[in-house]
Symmetry: C2
């Protein structure tokens, strides 16, 4: 086990990363100024730049941190053994209670498809990884008994699509879209 003690500087960095994620969610990457992020933690823009060399580097580190936390929260081991379709439904329920996180990923992932975006490689890689992981979950739970002759990787791609698409509509619907209920319906379709 490595040393997990945190210096004061590490704590400050963590604060900044949280503030950055919130601000990116509210304003988008380009719309979020370093000054606005710095203000949230009681720093000036230049004070913030003492911890991160540039805005792009800050974004990359924000996304790295998010991944680590999500991995912890999902309780999915390296081999993915603890995950299940039910766990995914639970994840959707959890997400329905944290609009900020959902909004940040919706905004940043879509923004990343634009030209030379600093987060593009991250999201390309992330979707590939998540597809593989979800495909393993589907294969373990349904075997090859998927409706309509789908294979597990195709089912995984659809599962992710439903999650992302529901999040966008949910963010734009003022309570008209019941994300967890709809996701459960979709899982029911998959189970046949």
């Amino acid at each position: 086990m490595v040393d997990r003690r945190r210096s004061r500087g590490d704590e400050r960095r963590a604060e900044i990363l949280d503030a950055a994620l919130e601000t990116f969610a509210e304003k988008g990457f380009r719309g979020a100024s370093l000054a606005a992020i710095a203000e949230r933690v009681g720093l000036t823009q230049q004070g913030l730049l003492h911890y991160f060399p540039s805005k792009e580097e800050l974004l990359v580190e924000v996304l790295k941190l998010r991944d680590e936390r999500d991995t912890d929260a999902l309780g999915d081991n390296a081999d993915g053994s603890t995950m299940s379709l039910n766990a995914l439904s639970t994840l959707v329920e959890v997400n329905a209670g944290r609009r900020g996180i959902v909004q940040s990923f919706t905004v940043l992932s879509a923004d990343s498809v634009t030209d030379d975006h600093p987060a593009r490689d991250y999201f390309v890689d992330r979707y590939r990884r998540v597809r593989r992981k979800f495909a393993a979950v589907v294969a373990a739970e349904c075997g090859d008994q998927l409706p309509s002759g789908m294979d597990p990787e195709q089912a995984a791609t659809l599962i992710i699509a439903v999650m992302d698409g529901l999040q966008l509509q949910w963010l734009l619907s003022d309570g008209e879209v019941d994300m967890p209920a709809l996701f459960r319906h979709f899982v029911a379709l998959l189970r046949d």
Copy 2:
């Protein structure tokens, strides 16, 4: 029938709207400068502002135009009578051949969830309208015989979610995601 003749000025406006949509797709709304849009049609930034009073107004008009063209392209009448689930599969196929359009809507719709975004009202209203329309299509084609006890509006919400979610993964996958095939699989699930 109203007079459909176009003045030179109208043509210029149409050119600018096309250029704006392309630039928004490539750079996002905040990342697209008026100067970059103007350059595409051989104008200066100030020349462009002769046709549209502000960048926000330009965005609103771009989205209006898009809606009109989509309505034409889908051939959906006011009562929705000519639409079907098969027509939606065809739409997904068409979209797989026009990355720019898909990218523009992915980028702009997600951006619209940020604070005080000028396109937010447009997308909130659009999703509501499309849910109603798709629900009518589902009801006409499947009646109330939907799997898992879903109602037509819930099915419509899922259909839209799958479309949007697949588009995002498709844009970020370098050919690894077959959008039309996956959508057809999903429709097959709905049909039971």
